[in-house]
Amino acid sequence: MTTTPFRIGFLPLVDAALPILARELGFAEAEGISLELIRDISWATVNDRLLYGHSDAAHLLAPLAIATTLGLGRPATPLSVPFVLGLNGNAITLRPDLAAQVTAVGAPGDVAAIGARLAIVAQAARERGTPLRFGVVHRYSSHNYMLRYWLIGCGIDPDADVAIVTVAPPFAADALAAGEIDGICVGEPWNSVAVDRGVGVIVAVTSQIWLRGVEKVLAMRTARMEENPDLTHRLLRALYRAGVAFVDPARREDIAAILAGPAYLDGSATLIGHAISDRIVFAQGAAPIDVPDFMFQHREAANFPWVSQAAWLYAQMTIAGHVPANATSYDAAQRVFRPDVYRAALRPLGVPLPGASSKLEGGIIEALGVGTTQGRLILGADRFFDARSFDPADLAGYLGGF
């Protein structure tokens, strides 16, 4: 059988797992795809390669796919997201001395209470003329929006009370150690690396802020995706099977070893294993703690690109002042997520396919069966820490609440 070459750009993060496993465990090959993975250090470079045809798809920050489609910082290029690579998997890590002032070091706590204590420290720091500095991995990242959402919900103005700067993931621990930043919201394994070095303490994981927060996505140029639907479909099936493997407890060690390889994360399989097994070490020397749903890569149709997830991100982008809210750009942002392509690709596998394309985000309090076009699907609770919910049909009402 001849195979079709296909290139995916990625950053060395645990949530690049599905494309890596699609290649390493042979799922891509079984679909007739010869997958090549291109590692970069900055999202700017991953994005450039995607836009200018050096890659066919990219492991990308969901908001960056929207920003690129809307032409923020780059000439507007329509991107599409036919598959979500995972939910959550990030954490907020603070300098150890700062963490000690806001949380019981070494274990997860109530993020609203931690945030309330942080608000007091942040206010004092601001009055001293040295506002707290937080790092996020990119201006248009879920990390930035999730951190801002938490700060706002705890009474901290992310623009006036603190400073938020960009720090690339591999430099997170160094920036904390050097005192360049007081805290960072970053993906794994970089929180664990900071904890392991004793330069940071995890005070919250992003799943505590939004239990089902959309994270990395598979992004493609829309034109590229649509010119060969069959190839796109085969790729999505390979990624789906990689997701099945990812959540198989029996394969955890093998998967950590694969991801730790020199061509991928080039790091410690032990630290990478923390995220894969949802067992997080919150502080140096502390025992690992089971954090259910820390990283959510497969179950409950986690890979389904809900249009309402794109809508939520757009709402956060407007609250941050990154894009002025209007009907045209709201529509364009929502059209980036392509549940139609997901359904077409995965229908032959007989897997559960949601019937709706949009939902009330944060509206599920207890596990709930939802309508499907095939299979049976139960969605778990998806609450936000502040109990707010987001109705994509009422953007103005939502924004009015901020």
């Binding site: 900055s42 000439p75 990119h138 201006r139 960009t166 690339a168």
Partner: protein, 192 residues
Amino acid sequence: MRIAIVDESAARAAVIEEGLRDAGLSDVTIFVDRRGIAARLEALSPDVVLINLANPHRDELEELLALSKAMARPVAMFVDQSDVAGIEAAIDAGVSAYVVDGLKKERIRPILELAIRRFRAYSRLRTELDEARSALAERKAIDEAKALLMKKRGIDEPAAYAALRKAAMDSGRRIGDVADAIVTANRLMGDL
């Protein structure tokens, strides 16, 4: 035209700067150290920022530029969007640029083309230098291996070299690799 070059390699930045100066563009500032770059860029207020594509701090720089008051609405670009060959050349060479929105593309094009040529020339230089270095290292390993063979087997230099060559041919490896293996083994084994 005010140009900033951001590159963690001072040598490469100098090669590009020289090219720009030769082309009559003298208002060029190099940034090698990323610390304090925000304030310094803001003070400089460049029309064009050239940066190596693989620079690990590009996301930080894009954030700075997005917030910049000095540089009006800078956009990442490679020549212009219609010039596909130009874009590919830029990416292949490993150079990217941020340009003040609205700057005429006929003014940008020669700068980027020059940057691309200089980036390529620099890569070529590096490759040649690396090759020269490894050739030198290889010759050293061969000399050392020959000396070992001469001493331990009591043979002369041509015979030692012939032995190396035969081992290389028999095992399908390069003479340099065989020599390297002998030297390494000798270090490990000591006087055994």
